[in-house]
Protein backbone atom coordinates (compact mmCIF):
# COMPACT_ATOMS: atom_id res chain seq x y z
CA UNK A 1 0.00 0.00 0.00
CA UNK A 2 2.88 2.27 0.86
CA UNK A 3 4.38 1.45 -2.49
CA UNK A 4 1.15 2.34 -4.23
CA UNK A 5 1.02 5.66 -2.38
CA UNK A 6 4.51 6.56 -3.57
CA UNK A 7 3.54 5.86 -7.16
CA UNK A 8 0.42 7.94 -6.73
CA UNK A 9 2.38 10.85 -5.27
CA UNK A 10 4.84 10.74 -8.17
CA UNK A 11 2.22 10.93 -10.88
CA UNK A 12 0.09 13.48 -9.02
CA UNK A 13 3.22 15.61 -8.74
CA UNK A 14 3.84 15.27 -12.45
CA UNK A 15 0.29 16.37 -13.20
CA UNK A 16 0.61 19.28 -10.81
CA UNK A 17 3.87 20.42 -12.41
CA UNK A 18 2.18 20.30 -15.80
CA UNK A 19 -0.72 22.38 -14.53
CA UNK A 20 1.68 24.89 -12.95
CA UNK A 21 3.59 25.29 -16.21
CA UNK A 22 0.29 25.97 -17.98
CA UNK A 23 -0.80 28.47 -15.33
CA UNK A 24 2.51 30.30 -15.57
CA UNK A 25 1.54 30.99 -19.22
CA UNK A 26 5.09 30.25 -20.20
CA UNK A 27 4.03 28.85 -23.55
CA UNK A 28 0.92 29.44 -25.62
CA UNK A 29 -2.00 27.28 -24.50
CA UNK A 30 -2.28 26.11 -28.11
CA UNK A 31 1.09 24.40 -27.73
CA UNK A 32 0.73 23.32 -24.11
CA UNK A 33 -2.87 22.59 -23.23
CA UNK A 34 -3.80 22.08 -19.61
CA UNK A 35 -4.30 18.58 -18.22
CA UNK A 36 -7.93 19.47 -17.82
CA UNK A 37 -8.48 20.22 -21.50
CA UNK A 38 -6.71 17.00 -22.47
CA UNK A 39 -8.95 15.19 -20.02
CA UNK A 40 -11.97 16.90 -21.52
CA UNK A 41 -10.94 15.78 -25.02
CA UNK A 42 -10.50 12.20 -23.86
CA UNK A 43 -13.86 12.25 -22.09
CA UNK A 44 -15.62 13.51 -25.20
CA UNK A 45 -13.83 11.11 -27.51
CA UNK A 46 -14.72 8.28 -25.18
CA UNK A 47 -18.35 9.32 -25.07
CA UNK A 48 -18.92 9.81 -28.79
CA UNK A 49 -17.26 6.48 -29.57
CA UNK A 50 -14.35 7.72 -31.68
CA UNK A 51 -11.79 6.59 -29.13
CA UNK A 52 -13.17 3.10 -28.65
CA UNK A 53 -13.56 2.72 -32.42
CA UNK A 54 -9.97 3.79 -33.09
CA UNK A 55 -8.58 1.56 -30.36
CA UNK A 56 -10.51 -1.38 -31.76
CA UNK A 57 -9.29 -0.76 -35.33
CA UNK A 58 -5.67 -0.40 -34.23
CA UNK A 59 -5.65 -3.39 -31.90
CA UNK A 60 -7.33 -5.57 -34.50
CA UNK A 61 -4.59 -4.77 -37.02
CA UNK A 62 -1.96 -5.35 -34.39
CA UNK A 63 -3.39 -8.65 -33.20
CA UNK A 64 -3.89 -10.04 -36.69
CA UNK A 65 -0.39 -9.10 -37.86
CA UNK A 66 1.31 -10.29 -34.66
CA UNK A 67 -0.46 -13.65 -34.64
CA UNK A 68 0.41 -14.30 -38.28
CA UNK A 69 3.98 -13.17 -37.67
CA UNK A 70 4.20 -15.52 -34.70
CA UNK A 71 2.69 -18.50 -36.51
CA UNK A 72 5.08 -18.03 -39.42
CA UNK A 73 8.10 -17.18 -37.29
CA UNK A 74 7.94 -20.19 -34.95
CA UNK A 75 8.46 -22.93 -37.56
CA UNK A 76 11.02 -20.81 -39.42
CA UNK A 77 12.94 -20.29 -36.17
CA UNK A 78 12.88 -24.03 -35.51
CA UNK A 79 14.26 -24.59 -39.01
CA UNK A 80 17.13 -22.15 -38.53
CA UNK A 81 17.95 -23.82 -35.22
CA UNK A 82 17.87 -27.28 -36.75
CA UNK A 83 19.67 -26.81 -40.05
CA UNK A 84 22.93 -24.92 -40.37
CA UNK A 85 22.17 -24.01 -43.97
CA UNK A 86 18.90 -22.38 -42.87
CA UNK A 87 20.77 -20.49 -40.16
CA UNK A 88 23.33 -19.26 -42.68
CA UNK A 89 20.69 -18.09 -45.14
CA UNK A 90 17.30 -17.39 -43.61
CA UNK A 91 18.87 -16.66 -40.21
CA UNK A 92 21.17 -14.04 -41.69
CA UNK A 93 18.30 -12.47 -43.57
CA UNK A 94 16.17 -12.37 -40.42
CA UNK A 95 18.99 -10.76 -38.48
CA UNK A 96 19.38 -8.07 -41.11
CA UNK A 97 15.69 -7.40 -41.52
CA UNK A 98 15.13 -7.35 -37.77
CA UNK A 99 17.70 -4.58 -37.48
CA UNK A 100 15.88 -2.63 -40.18
CA UNK A 101 13.52 -0.14 -38.49
CA UNK A 102 10.12 -1.47 -39.43
CA UNK A 103 8.93 2.02 -40.43
CA UNK A 104 11.06 1.49 -43.51
CA UNK A 105 8.52 -1.04 -44.73
CA UNK A 106 5.82 1.63 -44.97
CA UNK A 107 6.79 3.18 -48.35
CA UNK A 108 7.21 -0.27 -49.87
CA UNK A 109 3.91 -1.50 -48.46
CA UNK A 110 2.16 1.58 -49.86
CA UNK A 111 3.49 1.05 -53.36
CA UNK A 112 2.70 -2.64 -53.31
CA UNK A 113 -0.67 -2.65 -51.65
CA UNK A 114 -1.90 0.94 -51.91
CA UNK A 115 -3.89 2.53 -49.12
CA UNK A 116 -5.42 -0.72 -47.94
CA UNK A 117 -5.63 -2.92 -44.89
CA UNK A 118 -3.18 -5.22 -46.64
CA UNK A 119 -0.50 -2.55 -46.37
CA UNK A 120 -1.06 -2.25 -42.63
CA UNK A 121 -1.06 -6.01 -42.24
CA UNK A 122 2.16 -6.32 -44.20
CA UNK A 123 3.96 -3.72 -42.09
CA UNK A 124 2.91 -5.36 -38.82
CA UNK A 125 3.92 -8.84 -40.00
CA UNK A 126 7.32 -7.54 -41.11
CA UNK A 127 7.74 -5.96 -37.68
CA UNK A 128 6.95 -9.20 -35.84
CA UNK A 129 8.21 -12.03 -37.99
CA UNK A 130 11.96 -11.52 -37.87
CA UNK A 131 12.32 -11.09 -34.15
CA UNK A 132 10.18 -14.18 -33.56
CA UNK A 133 12.45 -16.19 -35.86
CA UNK A 134 15.54 -14.96 -34.07
CA UNK A 135 14.10 -15.49 -30.59
CA UNK A 136 12.93 -19.02 -31.41
CA UNK A 137 16.31 -19.90 -32.89
CA UNK A 138 18.09 -18.44 -29.89
CA UNK A 139 15.71 -20.17 -27.50
CA UNK A 140 16.24 -23.58 -29.03
CA UNK A 141 19.99 -23.13 -29.02
CA UNK A 142 19.82 -22.32 -25.32
CA UNK A 143 17.91 -25.47 -24.42
CA UNK A 144 20.09 -27.56 -22.09
CA UNK A 145 21.33 -30.51 -24.18
CA UNK A 146 20.43 -32.85 -21.34
CA UNK A 147 16.72 -32.53 -22.22
CA UNK A 148 17.27 -33.87 -25.70
CA UNK A 149 19.52 -36.64 -24.38
CA UNK A 150 16.99 -37.69 -21.77
CA UNK A 151 14.26 -37.68 -24.41
CA UNK A 152 16.40 -39.83 -26.72
CA UNK A 153 16.96 -42.48 -24.07
CA UNK A 154 13.19 -42.68 -23.67
CA UNK A 155 12.76 -43.31 -27.38
CA UNK A 156 11.93 -39.82 -28.62
CA UNK A 157 13.22 -39.08 -32.12
CA UNK A 158 13.10 -36.41 -34.81
CA UNK A 159 9.87 -34.47 -35.03
CA UNK A 160 8.64 -35.79 -31.68
CA UNK A 161 11.74 -34.40 -29.94
CA UNK A 162 11.32 -31.06 -31.67
CA UNK A 163 7.67 -30.61 -30.87
CA UNK A 164 7.54 -32.26 -27.45
CA UNK A 165 10.91 -31.22 -26.03
CA UNK A 166 12.74 -28.47 -27.90
CA UNK A 167 9.76 -26.20 -28.51
CA UNK A 168 8.38 -26.23 -24.94
CA UNK A 169 11.90 -25.98 -23.53
CA UNK A 170 12.49 -22.85 -25.62
CA UNK A 171 9.17 -21.28 -24.60
CA UNK A 172 10.53 -18.60 -22.21
CA UNK A 173 12.73 -17.29 -25.02
CA UNK A 174 9.92 -17.49 -27.52
CA UNK A 175 7.72 -15.35 -25.29
CA UNK A 176 10.55 -12.83 -24.96
CA UNK A 177 10.72 -12.78 -28.75
CA UNK A 178 6.97 -12.27 -28.96
CA UNK A 179 7.27 -9.33 -26.62
CA UNK A 180 9.97 -7.77 -28.74
CA UNK A 181 8.07 -8.55 -31.92
CA UNK A 182 4.98 -6.95 -30.45
CA UNK A 183 6.94 -3.82 -29.56
CA UNK A 184 8.33 -3.56 -33.08
CA UNK A 185 4.95 -4.19 -34.66
CA UNK A 186 3.32 -1.59 -32.42
CA UNK A 187 5.84 1.06 -33.43
CA UNK A 188 5.60 0.29 -37.11
CA UNK A 189 1.83 0.23 -37.06
CA UNK A 190 1.71 3.69 -35.48
CA UNK A 191 4.09 5.02 -38.11
CA UNK A 192 2.00 3.48 -40.86
CA UNK A 193 -1.25 4.87 -39.45
CA UNK A 194 0.19 8.35 -39.15
CA UNK A 195 1.48 8.33 -42.73
CA UNK A 196 -1.32 6.54 -44.44
CA UNK A 197 -5.00 7.30 -44.49
CA UNK A 198 -7.00 4.18 -44.95
CA UNK A 199 -10.70 4.53 -45.45
CA UNK A 200 -11.49 1.07 -44.14
CA UNK A 201 -10.71 2.08 -40.58
CA UNK A 202 -9.60 5.00 -38.46
CA UNK A 203 -6.91 3.91 -36.05
CA UNK A 204 -5.24 5.73 -33.18
CA UNK A 205 -2.46 6.86 -35.49
CA UNK A 206 -5.02 8.62 -37.66
CA UNK A 207 -6.48 10.44 -34.67
CA UNK A 208 -2.97 11.57 -33.82
CA UNK A 209 -2.41 12.71 -37.39
CA UNK A 210 -5.66 14.67 -37.53
CA UNK A 211 -4.86 16.22 -34.19
CA UNK A 212 -1.85 17.75 -35.85
CA UNK A 213 -3.78 18.80 -38.96
CA UNK A 214 -6.39 20.53 -36.84
CA UNK A 215 -3.82 22.04 -34.49
CA UNK A 216 -5.67 20.28 -31.68
CA UNK A 217 -2.92 19.78 -29.14
CA UNK A 218 -5.31 18.36 -26.54
CA UNK A 219 -6.13 15.58 -29.02
CA UNK A 220 -2.46 14.93 -29.81
CA UNK A 221 -1.49 14.64 -26.17
CA UNK A 222 -4.65 12.74 -25.28
CA UNK A 223 -4.02 10.10 -27.94
CA UNK A 224 -0.38 9.86 -26.93
CA UNK A 225 -1.52 9.09 -23.39
CA UNK A 226 -3.82 6.39 -24.73
CA UNK A 227 -0.95 4.85 -26.73
CA UNK A 228 1.22 4.93 -23.65
CA UNK A 229 -1.48 3.22 -21.61
CA UNK A 230 -1.91 0.48 -24.22
CA UNK A 231 1.83 -0.15 -24.27
CA UNK A 232 1.96 -0.37 -20.49
CA UNK A 233 -1.06 -2.64 -20.33
CA UNK A 234 0.34 -4.99 -22.95
CA UNK A 235 3.53 -5.33 -20.98
CA UNK A 236 2.00 -5.57 -17.52
CA UNK A 237 -0.97 -7.74 -18.40
CA UNK A 238 -0.02 -9.66 -21.50
CA UNK A 239 3.70 -10.35 -21.41
CA UNK A 240 5.39 -9.78 -18.06
CA UNK A 241 3.24 -12.17 -15.99
CA UNK A 242 3.75 -14.86 -18.62
CA UNK A 243 7.44 -14.26 -18.79
CA UNK A 244 7.86 -14.33 -15.02
CA UNK A 245 5.79 -17.47 -14.75
CA UNK A 246 7.75 -19.29 -17.47
CA UNK A 247 11.16 -18.28 -16.18
CA UNK A 248 10.22 -19.38 -12.69
CA UNK A 249 8.86 -22.75 -13.70
CA UNK A 250 11.55 -23.43 -16.31
CA UNK A 251 14.22 -22.39 -13.84
CA UNK A 252 15.80 -20.07 -16.42
CA UNK A 253 15.87 -17.00 -14.21
Amino acid sequence: MKRFAKVLVFFAGLLLAWQLVVLAKFWSPVLVPSPLSVGRYLWEAANDGTLAGAILVTLKRLALGSVVGLLAGLPLGLLTARFQVMKDTLGLMALGLQALPSVCWVPLALLWFGQTEAAMFFVVVMGTLWSVIIATDNGVRNVPPIYARAARTMGSRGLHTWLQVMLPAALPFVVAGMKQGWAFAWRSLMAAEIYVTILSGFGLGHLLHYGRELNAMDQVIGIMLVLLAIGLLADKVLFSPWERFLHRRWGTA
Binding site: A150, R152, T153, M154, V165, R249
Partner: protein
Amino acid sequence: MTLPTEFQNEAPSKLSVQSVTKRFRSRKGDVHALDRVSLDVNEGEFVCLVGPSGCGKSTLLNIVAGLESADEGRVWCDGVPVTAPGRERMMMFQESALFPWLDALHNVLFGLRLKPGLKSAERREIADFYLRLVGLEKFRRSFVHELSGGMKQRVALARALAPNPRVLLMDEPFAALDALTREQLYGDLQQIWQERRKTILFVTHNVREACCLGDRVLLFSPHPGRIRAEFKIDLPRPREINSVELARHATAVTAELKRTAHTGTPAREEASV
Protein backbone atom coordinates in the same frame (compact mmCIF):
# COMPACT_ATOMS: atom_id res chain seq x y z
CA MET B 1 1.48 -56.01 -24.30
CA THR B 2 -0.82 -56.30 -21.32
CA LEU B 3 -0.70 -54.57 -18.02
CA PRO B 4 0.34 -57.62 -15.94
CA THR B 5 3.33 -58.25 -18.19
CA GLU B 6 4.13 -54.57 -17.93
CA PHE B 7 4.52 -54.88 -14.17
CA GLN B 8 6.29 -58.21 -14.38
CA ASN B 9 9.90 -58.40 -13.41
CA GLU B 10 11.56 -59.28 -16.65
CA ALA B 11 14.84 -61.10 -16.48
CA PRO B 12 17.49 -58.44 -16.05
CA SER B 13 19.92 -58.26 -18.87
CA LYS B 14 23.59 -58.95 -19.22
CA LEU B 15 25.89 -56.25 -20.46
CA SER B 16 29.19 -56.74 -22.16
CA VAL B 17 31.66 -54.00 -23.06
CA GLN B 18 34.40 -55.22 -25.35
CA SER B 19 37.59 -53.30 -25.90
CA VAL B 20 35.93 -49.91 -26.24
CA THR B 21 38.16 -47.00 -27.25
CA LYS B 22 37.11 -43.38 -27.52
CA ARG B 23 39.06 -40.24 -28.34
CA PHE B 24 37.94 -36.64 -28.26
CA ARG B 25 39.48 -33.92 -30.34
CA SER B 26 39.98 -30.65 -28.50
CA ARG B 27 42.02 -27.54 -29.08
CA LYS B 28 44.70 -28.81 -26.73
CA GLY B 29 45.04 -31.96 -28.75
CA ASP B 30 43.45 -35.37 -28.65
CA VAL B 31 42.12 -36.70 -25.38
CA HIS B 32 42.17 -40.42 -24.99
CA ALA B 33 38.97 -40.82 -22.99
CA LEU B 34 38.75 -44.59 -23.08
CA ASP B 35 41.46 -47.07 -23.95
CA ARG B 36 40.36 -50.63 -24.77
CA VAL B 37 37.99 -50.87 -21.84
CA SER B 38 36.32 -54.22 -21.36
CA LEU B 39 33.89 -55.27 -18.70
CA ASP B 40 31.05 -57.66 -18.15
CA VAL B 41 28.04 -57.05 -16.00
CA ASN B 42 26.04 -60.08 -14.96
CA GLU B 43 22.29 -60.28 -14.99
CA GLY B 44 20.88 -58.38 -12.05
CA GLU B 45 24.27 -57.17 -10.92
CA PHE B 46 24.89 -53.73 -9.45
CA VAL B 47 28.25 -52.45 -10.71
CA CYS B 48 29.77 -49.12 -9.75
CA LEU B 49 32.39 -47.28 -11.78
CA VAL B 50 34.56 -45.00 -9.62
CA GLY B 51 37.31 -42.66 -10.58
CA PRO B 52 38.43 -39.06 -10.60
CA SER B 53 36.55 -36.70 -12.87
CA GLY B 54 37.71 -36.84 -16.45
CA CYS B 55 38.60 -40.52 -16.38
CA GLY B 56 36.07 -41.42 -19.03
CA LYS B 57 33.57 -43.25 -16.85
CA SER B 58 30.68 -41.03 -17.92
CA THR B 59 31.74 -41.42 -21.53
CA LEU B 60 31.58 -45.17 -21.12
CA LEU B 61 28.09 -44.90 -19.65
CA ASN B 62 26.98 -42.75 -22.60
CA ILE B 63 28.34 -45.34 -25.01
CA VAL B 64 26.47 -48.12 -23.21
CA ALA B 65 23.35 -45.96 -23.36
CA GLY B 66 23.83 -45.52 -27.11
CA LEU B 67 24.06 -41.74 -26.83
CA GLU B 68 27.64 -41.77 -28.08
CA SER B 69 29.45 -44.22 -30.29
CA ALA B 70 32.76 -45.91 -29.62
CA ASP B 71 35.69 -45.34 -31.97
CA GLU B 72 36.65 -48.96 -31.57
CA GLY B 73 35.13 -51.90 -29.79
CA ARG B 74 31.54 -52.85 -29.12
CA VAL B 75 28.92 -52.90 -26.43
CA TRP B 76 26.57 -55.86 -26.28
CA CYS B 77 23.31 -56.00 -24.44
CA ASP B 78 21.98 -59.55 -24.26
CA GLY B 79 24.07 -60.48 -27.24
CA VAL B 80 22.73 -57.61 -29.37
CA PRO B 81 25.19 -54.87 -30.30
CA VAL B 82 24.24 -51.42 -29.00
CA THR B 83 23.97 -48.82 -31.77
CA ALA B 84 21.36 -46.38 -30.45
CA PRO B 85 19.45 -45.58 -27.27
CA GLY B 86 16.92 -48.25 -26.42
CA ARG B 87 14.07 -48.63 -24.00
CA GLU B 88 15.68 -51.64 -22.34
CA ARG B 89 18.52 -49.33 -21.18
CA MET B 90 17.24 -46.27 -19.34
CA MET B 91 19.52 -43.55 -18.11
CA MET B 92 19.53 -41.25 -15.10
CA PHE B 93 21.66 -38.11 -15.03
CA GLN B 94 23.30 -35.96 -12.39
CA GLU B 95 20.78 -33.22 -13.04
CA SER B 96 17.31 -34.67 -12.96
CA ALA B 97 16.74 -33.68 -16.62
CA LEU B 98 13.03 -33.58 -15.82
CA PHE B 99 10.96 -31.44 -18.14
CA PRO B 100 9.85 -28.30 -16.28
CA TRP B 101 6.77 -27.79 -18.44
CA LEU B 102 5.32 -31.11 -17.21
CA ASP B 103 4.26 -32.13 -13.71
CA ALA B 104 5.78 -35.17 -12.00
CA LEU B 105 3.11 -37.51 -13.36
CA HIS B 106 3.51 -36.35 -16.95
CA ASN B 107 7.27 -36.53 -16.72
CA VAL B 108 6.89 -40.21 -15.85
CA LEU B 109 4.30 -40.59 -18.60
CA PHE B 110 6.64 -39.07 -21.21
CA GLY B 111 8.60 -42.27 -21.71
CA LEU B 112 5.51 -44.45 -21.38
CA ARG B 113 3.76 -42.54 -24.18
CA LEU B 114 6.64 -43.53 -26.45
CA LYS B 115 6.26 -47.18 -25.56
CA PRO B 116 3.93 -48.85 -28.02
CA GLY B 117 1.03 -51.09 -27.06
CA LEU B 118 -0.18 -49.35 -23.92
CA LYS B 119 -3.63 -47.86 -23.41
CA SER B 120 -3.91 -44.47 -21.79
CA ALA B 121 -5.43 -45.86 -18.57
CA GLU B 122 -2.67 -48.46 -18.38
CA ARG B 123 0.01 -45.83 -18.76
CA ARG B 124 -1.60 -43.87 -15.95
CA GLU B 125 -1.65 -46.94 -13.72
CA ILE B 126 2.01 -47.70 -14.42
CA ALA B 127 3.08 -44.10 -13.76
CA ASP B 128 1.17 -44.07 -10.47
CA PHE B 129 2.76 -47.36 -9.48
CA TYR B 130 6.29 -46.01 -9.94
CA LEU B 131 5.55 -42.69 -8.29
CA ARG B 132 4.29 -44.71 -5.33
CA LEU B 133 7.43 -46.84 -5.45
CA VAL B 134 9.64 -43.77 -5.04
CA GLY B 135 7.29 -42.40 -2.38
CA LEU B 136 6.00 -39.40 -4.30
CA GLU B 137 2.37 -40.29 -4.99
CA LYS B 138 1.30 -37.14 -3.14
CA PHE B 139 3.40 -34.99 -5.46
CA ARG B 140 2.20 -36.40 -8.76
CA ARG B 141 0.71 -33.05 -9.73
CA SER B 142 3.70 -30.96 -8.58
CA PHE B 143 5.86 -29.17 -11.09
CA VAL B 144 9.61 -29.60 -11.19
CA HIS B 145 10.42 -26.24 -9.61
CA GLU B 146 8.22 -27.12 -6.66
CA LEU B 147 10.25 -30.24 -5.84
CA SER B 148 13.42 -30.48 -3.77
CA GLY B 149 16.61 -31.87 -5.28
CA GLY B 150 16.02 -35.28 -3.75
CA MET B 151 12.42 -35.39 -4.92
CA LYS B 152 13.49 -34.47 -8.43
CA GLN B 153 15.88 -37.41 -8.53
CA ARG B 154 13.12 -39.67 -7.21
CA VAL B 155 10.85 -38.57 -10.05
CA ALA B 156 13.74 -39.09 -12.47
CA LEU B 157 14.17 -42.60 -11.06
CA ALA B 158 10.45 -43.29 -11.48
CA ARG B 159 10.65 -41.97 -15.04
CA ALA B 160 13.58 -44.25 -15.81
CA LEU B 161 11.90 -47.29 -14.23
CA ALA B 162 8.46 -46.77 -15.76
CA PRO B 163 9.12 -48.25 -19.21
CA ASN B 164 10.35 -51.34 -17.32
CA PRO B 165 13.91 -51.35 -18.67
CA ARG B 166 16.19 -54.26 -17.87
CA VAL B 167 19.27 -52.10 -17.47
CA LEU B 168 19.54 -48.89 -15.50
CA LEU B 169 22.43 -46.56 -16.27
CA MET B 170 23.07 -43.96 -13.59
CA ASP B 171 25.48 -41.08 -14.07
CA GLU B 172 26.29 -39.60 -10.64
CA PRO B 173 22.59 -39.26 -9.89
CA PHE B 174 23.08 -38.31 -6.25
CA ALA B 175 26.15 -36.07 -6.58
CA ALA B 176 24.23 -32.81 -6.28
CA LEU B 177 22.19 -33.80 -3.22
CA ASP B 178 22.80 -33.08 0.44
CA ALA B 179 24.20 -35.91 2.57
CA LEU B 180 20.98 -36.70 4.43
CA THR B 181 18.85 -36.98 1.29
CA ARG B 182 21.57 -39.03 -0.34
CA GLU B 183 21.66 -41.57 2.49
CA GLN B 184 17.93 -42.01 2.25
CA LEU B 185 18.18 -42.60 -1.48
CA TYR B 186 20.92 -45.22 -1.01
CA GLY B 187 18.43 -47.24 1.01
CA ASP B 188 15.61 -46.68 -1.43
CA LEU B 189 17.67 -47.52 -4.48
CA GLN B 190 18.93 -50.78 -2.98
CA GLN B 191 15.40 -51.77 -2.11
CA ILE B 192 14.00 -50.88 -5.52
CA TRP B 193 16.85 -52.67 -7.25
CA GLN B 194 16.14 -55.87 -5.33
CA GLU B 195 12.38 -55.56 -5.84
CA ARG B 196 12.44 -54.71 -9.53
CA ARG B 197 15.44 -56.86 -10.54
CA LYS B 198 17.51 -54.53 -12.71
CA THR B 199 21.05 -54.64 -13.96
CA ILE B 200 22.60 -51.38 -12.82
CA LEU B 201 25.71 -49.60 -14.02
CA PHE B 202 26.35 -46.71 -11.67
CA VAL B 203 28.97 -43.99 -12.18
CA THR B 204 30.23 -41.98 -9.22
CA HIS B 205 33.36 -40.35 -7.86
CA ASN B 206 32.27 -41.07 -4.31
CA VAL B 207 34.05 -44.21 -3.13
CA ARG B 208 31.81 -44.80 -0.12
CA GLU B 209 28.74 -44.48 -2.29
CA ALA B 210 30.16 -47.04 -4.70
CA CYS B 211 30.92 -49.49 -1.89
CA CYS B 212 27.48 -48.97 -0.40
CA LEU B 213 25.63 -49.70 -3.60
CA GLY B 214 27.76 -51.98 -5.75
CA ASP B 215 28.19 -55.74 -5.86
CA ARG B 216 31.40 -54.83 -7.60
CA VAL B 217 33.35 -51.60 -7.73
CA LEU B 218 35.49 -50.92 -10.79
CA LEU B 219 38.22 -48.35 -10.37
CA PHE B 220 38.94 -46.11 -13.35
CA SER B 221 42.11 -44.17 -13.96
CA PRO B 222 42.39 -41.29 -16.40
CA HIS B 223 44.59 -40.44 -19.42
CA PRO B 224 43.83 -42.77 -20.99
CA GLY B 225 40.68 -44.03 -19.29
CA ARG B 226 41.20 -47.59 -18.17
CA ILE B 227 39.89 -49.94 -15.53
CA ARG B 228 42.68 -50.25 -12.98
CA ALA B 229 41.25 -52.46 -10.32
CA GLU B 230 38.17 -54.40 -9.34
CA PHE B 231 36.73 -54.88 -5.86
CA LYS B 232 34.07 -57.33 -4.82
CA ILE B 233 31.87 -55.94 -2.07
CA ASP B 234 30.20 -58.95 -0.45
CA LEU B 235 28.38 -57.24 2.37
CA PRO B 236 24.78 -58.14 3.22
CA ARG B 237 22.03 -55.82 2.08
CA PRO B 238 20.57 -53.39 2.76
CA ARG B 239 23.87 -51.70 3.47
CA GLU B 240 24.31 -48.76 5.73
CA ILE B 241 26.66 -46.11 4.39
CA ASN B 242 28.13 -45.40 7.84
CA SER B 243 28.85 -49.00 8.81
CA VAL B 244 32.38 -49.92 9.82
CA GLU B 245 32.51 -52.87 7.45
CA LEU B 246 31.69 -50.65 4.56
CA ALA B 247 34.25 -48.08 5.63
CA ARG B 248 36.91 -50.82 5.53
CA HIS B 249 36.09 -51.61 1.91
CA ALA B 250 36.01 -47.92 1.05
CA THR B 251 39.42 -47.43 2.61
CA ALA B 252 40.89 -50.17 0.46
CA VAL B 253 39.42 -48.67 -2.70
CA THR B 254 40.59 -45.19 -1.76
CA ALA B 255 44.11 -46.44 -1.12
CA GLU B 256 44.19 -48.01 -4.56
CA LEU B 257 42.72 -44.85 -6.08
CA LYS B 258 45.49 -42.76 -4.55
CA ARG B 259 48.15 -45.24 -5.63
CA THR B 260 47.05 -45.18 -9.27
CA ALA B 261 46.74 -41.42 -9.17
CA HIS B 262 50.39 -41.14 -8.13
CA THR B 263 51.85 -43.75 -10.43
CA GLY B 264 49.66 -42.90 -13.38
CA THR B 265 50.51 -40.29 -15.96
CA PRO B 266 50.37 -36.76 -14.57
CA ALA B 267 46.88 -35.35 -14.45
CA ARG B 268 46.03 -33.04 -17.29
CA GLU B 269 43.16 -30.72 -17.51
CA GLU B 270 39.98 -32.45 -18.40
CA ALA B 271 38.75 -31.84 -21.89
CA SER B 272 35.21 -30.68 -22.06
CA VAL B 273 33.05 -33.24 -23.76
